[in-house]
Amino acid sequence: MSDTLTGTTTEVPDYPMDRDARCPFAPPPQVLGMGTAKPLSRVRIWDGSTPWLITGHEVARELFADARVSVDDRREGFPHWNEHMLSTVHKRPRSVFTSDAEEHTRFRRMLSKPFTFKRVEGLRSAIQEVTDECIDAILAGPQPADMVSKLALPVPTRVISEMLGVPYEDHEFFQHHANVGLARYATAEDGQKGAMGLAQYLINLVETKRENPAEDAVSDLAERVNAGEITVKEAAQLGTGLLIAGHETTANMIGIGVLALLENPEQAALLRDSDNPKFIANAVEELMRYLSIIQNGQRRVAIEDIEIGGETIRAGEGIIIDLAPANWDATAYPQPDKLDLNRDAGQQLGFGYGRHQCVGQQLARAELQIVFHTLLRRIPTLRLAVPFDEVPFKHDRLAYGVYELPVTW
């Protein structure tokens, strides 16, 4: 779009856009096309407003790290995901996801203890054990086996549940409630039901841990409540965020990541045959770059005028940073549509960037490194049990992935 057309509202494309069903790993072709033309352009969202869509890698990184860009969804002009998020904006307690500056730092530091690099390194043997148990069960069970329900979901769920101090017996309850609220166009009612179920569960758990603390993340939050630093509701909200972010995203990345490896057997062989932790680590970064899981964009609003990429984002205008096209920006990653485990993917934006970058990223990295490598080693003949075009993709979820992945060996 040229500048002369920016005033013509009919030229503004609707967002989010659909992927091409024939290229399910690729971002929507229309988004890629916009990204080739300019690093940022206007789009129209569900409520008729026209925020900026960021598709360029460098502009995305700069705006993620810019203090003039806010995540406070109560501000005028904030581009909400859907009606549910708008309708609950004043009911939801502030959290690490919706606060800026010092308030955000305060929340974030309460959550960071279990996710430091060294703590996560210390969890590797436990993650390995959980992974091996799941693969043992797969090998002992019938074929075809569904990688999503047998591996992708149980590994991160068990790890995050133990870390938080949530009993594993409750994991079905969590998956159900987490999924209801995250659907692409969740109605206000759907979202509320899921969120309330989880919130009430977490409130009860925080109360339990206030009386009987243990060595886990919810007990850490309960201690902050006892110290008068946060309310029970805030603690429950922070715990809910960790739980949802801790299982659903990683599970999706495992499911679709296994599929991407099966479709790129020469790349899978490189990973299977490598004993080099640096290569394995970079392979996971490249898989994250290639797949970007979080679709529909990170939502922000400008609090001052920002000159960037040849445009001016005015104070009060919405900003949507779309990770997938930024990770497929050919100026940052030549031939972005190629999964190339040898390329340096260190600056990939799958975890976001800036002060809101994923709290659990080191845990996710450890899980993904262990799961992909172990699976390829232990089941080297792994192959898809259905035609590729019959794999059901999560086009309608905020986190992209596959609903199921039947494999055989």
């Binding site: 960071s112 996710f115 060294k118 709290v359």
Partner: protein
């Protein structure tokens, strides 16, 4: 090379320790950056630069 860190900006991502564990550590309680050496030897300089580039909070400053 002179390395400085801004603990007030730090968001505990762990990117510094991932990239340069000899130069940076994290506080056990909240993951905030700890600078182990402000003048890393040449062998660690490249990793320190990588850590500064990866830091999502722009909390690491390097003077060459």
């Amino acid at each position: 090379m002179k390395v400085t860190v801004d603990q007030a900006k730090c968001v505990s991502s762990g990117q510094c320790v991932l990239n340069a564990g000899e130069v940076f550590d994290q506080r056990d309680d909240d993951g905030v950056v700890i600078l182990l050496t402000d003048n890393p030897p040449p062998a660690q300089a490249a990793n320190a630069r990588k850590a500064a580039a990866a830091c999502p909070a722009l909390a690491i400053d390097i003077e060459e």
